[in-house]
């Protein structure tokens, strides 16, 4: 009992450290951004800066769960494309927009469910290969459906989702939805027995299975959730862009994984939390905002995001191996 307590305490202190670091970085980047642009330090400026980016946030929340159980999903960007295309095509075919939105959600959840089904039911089939194939398959289906075209002309209320504000408060609608989702995910992961099982799976899947955790079922649910959130992201992204094309959201998988890992989620599983992930989301957005101010092209931003991702994973590894070496030296002495 006491051992357990000290373990959770230690873990708590580690996550605290990481999250404080993120907060410091956020403040640092905000100061730089404020120097670069005089419009940055205003209530509306910050709200708008944050809301532009948030469709990725939905994907980050569920990607954190996927990474915590020690898996990965690189098909999310393609699921966004397929969901968006299927929504746009069904709207063009005469389906009411509200139903088309449900179709997008169902498409996303369906793709995720299919991923999860293969990964959890066929032992030996890794998430890497399934989602790699999925990233080609889903975007390929989007291309088959729509070809090289774009579909636009959605009803005017649809653009409210990404661009609208709540009443006269200047709080973007998307931020409210995101905060709601983040709270649900946070409670699910940190305050329920189900959440503890997710961590148990990430730390040791075999031990988790033998202690009665329904590993296959949870994996199935998490991948389906990840697909569903990609569907949610597709709705907001399409609303933001005003049109749908098969090549939207390319490269999102890197950024979503990078944000989750930056938020303290370990890609080898078992570590991380929703608070850190949300802070990392803000940090990445401010970083992108700043880079946008100094006219960094999108391709170069991807280079920087890639370097950040590798750096975040490499540094703790090198640090811990140095620590181990020091301990070994001490023991020898």
């Amino acid at each position: 009992m006491e051992h357990q307590k000290s373990f959770s305490k230690r873990k708590l202190s580690i996550t605290f450290k990481w999250e404080w670091l993120l907060v410091i970085l956020i403040i640092g980047i905000s100061v730089v951004n404020g120097r670069l642009s005089s419009h940055f330090w205003s209530y509306t400026g910050i709200m708008d800066a944050l809301s532009v980016f948030l469709e990725k946030g939905f994907m980050v929340l569920s990607m954190a769960l996927v990474l915590i159980i020690g898996d990965i999903d690189i098909s999310v960007a393609s699921i966004v494309a397929l969901s968006s295309v299927s929504m746009a095509m069904s709207y063009k075919a005469g389906v009411p927009m509200a139903v088309a939105i449900l179709i997008a959600l169902a498409t996303g959840a369906g793709c995720g469910y299919f991923n999860g089904l293969l990964i959890s039911r066929i032992p030996g089939l890794s998430a890497i290969i399934v989602t790699l194939a999925g990233s080609s398959l889903y975007r390929g289906i989007a291309y088959i459906l729509l070809g090289d075209q774009a579909i636009g002309g959605f009803p005017s209320w649809y653009s409210y989702l990404a661009w609208g504000y709540i009443g006269r408060t200047h709080i973007p609608f998307i931020i409210v939805v995101f905060v709601g989702c983040a709270i649900i995910y946070g409670l699910l992961l940190h305050r329920t027995a189900w959440g503890r099982k997710v961590y148990a799976m990430g730390i040791n899947p075999v031990a988790a299975r033998f202690s009665g955790v329904p590993v296959a079922k949870i994996k199935q649910i998490i991948f389906a959730l990840n697909g569903l959130m990609a569907g949610v992201a597709a709705i907001f992204l399409t609303s933001k862009l005003g049109s749908s094309r098969p090549n939207i959201a390319t490269g999102y998988e890197l950024e979503v994984i990078a944000i989750a890992v930056l938020g303290g989620v370990s890609p080898s599983g078992g570590k991380g939390g929703i608070v850190g992930v949300c802070l990392a989301l803000i940090l990445m957005r401010l970083l992108r905002y700043g880079m946008g101010l100094v006219n960094v092209p999108g391709q170069v931003m991807m280079v920087i995001i890639g370097i950040v991702l590798i750096g975040v994973v490499v540094f703790p590894n090198v640090f811990s191996s140095l620590k181990v070496r020091k301990r070994e030296v001490k023991e020898i002495q």
Binding site: I72, I74, L118, I122, G124, L125, S126, I128, I129, V130, L132, A133, G134, S135, S136, L137, Y138, R139, G140, I141, Y143, I144, G147, D148, G251, E253, L254, I257, A258, V261, P267, S268, P297, Q299, V300, M302, V303, I305, G306, I307, L309, I310, V313, V314, N317, V318, S321
Partner: protein, 337 residues
């Protein structure tokens, strides 16, 4: 003592398996060729076959590199970007200095690719980053660098000297020079993988990393090495690609990593490591090449290619697992008797 007979039987089963699966692929290739030939007789001509080989040349080379990485249990998504970056550098160099010899350009591709691969290898082996995350990042990083050095511009056919384009267009004994490059790569790697110590160590690391480390194999070095090799081969393929299509672009081979993985998985390479043969990926690559060539010939829209590739990877991976499981089952049965 009791283990010894089981081990020999295991070896028998292993030697039987590749033959069985390669025969399966050959039958599949013949079947698909005949079916497409019926719909479009032009498919079954020597000229078209030569075209298929030319278009698949880069894939042949790339799948060797990917196989070695997969055998160690990793994956290298950055190959397509290394290809694009070296292709762009090679294109820019021959644009400025048209007198450079094609052989020098091929060597340059190898070396530059090996350098880029060694960075990825260091991150995976020394930095202990999960291969998929490291190579996904490097994929975007190298793609971005390609964009930066080219300034978003293309290198077009008229800017390249004929000697450079000759790598693909010049023929020797009726076959394009590209095909001889592929041949050399396959002979070298067939020998390397099967008959050298380091080649066998790659398989040892992939089969059981911990055991390999304990018997004294430098697993970090082997892990690093496979990324260097896959980088070098991507660089070589980059020069071949630019010479073949006579243009270097920022999005050269974008998404091509799926094709490489499809060729490897079709050829029986296991994603979990330890399994994969040179004849296997030769057949896997040619199958993917034939399918890609045949789609326009039977008037299937090119938009199908992407989805089809995803499907091929999925089905082939599942078939691989089913075969392995059957094999293990029959082994167990034999052990009981």
């Amino acid at each position: 003592m009791t283990n010894e007979p089981a081990k020999t039987k295991k070896e028998v089963a292993f030697s039987r398996l590749p033959g069985f699966r390669e025969l399966g692929i050959i039958i599949f290739i013949i079947l698909i060729s005949v079916l497409i030939g019926i719909r479009n007789p032009r498919f079954l001509t020597w000229g078209n076959f030569h075209d298929i080989l030319l278009d698949t040349a880069a894939l042949f080379v790339l799948s060797v590199g990917m196989m070695l990485v997969l055998v160690t249990g990793g994956i290298d998504l950055s190959m397509e970007s290394v290809l694009a970056l070296t292709g762009m550098v090679a294109g820019m160099m021959v644009k400025q200095n048209p007198q450079l010899s094609p052989l020098f350009m091929l060597l340059l591709g190898l070396i530059l690719g090996a350098l880029l691969g060694s960075i990825t290898g260091l991150i995976v082996a020394k930095g202990r980053v999960v291969p998929i995350i490291a190579t996904l990042s490097m994929m975007y990083i190298y793609r971005g660098i390609t964009f930066i050095i080219s300034g978003g511009k293309w290198i077009n056919a008229y800017e390249m000297p004929d000697s450079f384009k000759g790598i693909a267009t010049e023929r020797f004994l009726g076959l394009s020079k590209l095909i001889y490059i592929v041949l050399v790569v396959y002979l070298v790697f067939y020998y390397f993988v099967n008959h050298t110590r380091i080649g066998r160590e790659i398989y040892a690391v992939g089969s059981n990393k911990e055991a390999a480390r304990i018997i004294g194999i430098n697993t970090q070095f082997i892990t690093w090495l496979v990324y260097v090799i896959s980088g070098a081969l991507s660089g070589l393929a980059g020069v071949m690609w630019v010479a073949r299509y006579a243009s270097a672009q920022n999005d050269t081979a974008s998404g091509f990593v799926m094709t490489i993985v499809a060729a490897c998985v079709l050829g029986g390479v296991s994603i979990t490591g330890g399994v994969g043969t040179i004849p296997g990926i030769l057949l896997g690559s040619i199958t993917v090449g034939i399918i890609n060539n045949a789609l326009p010939m039977i008037r299937v829209s090119p938009f199908w290619k992407m989805a089809l590739q995803g499907l091929i990877i999925l089905v082939a991976a599942i078939v691989n697992i089913a075969i392995t499981r059957n094999m293990e089952k029959s082994q167990l049965k034999r052990r009981v008797i």
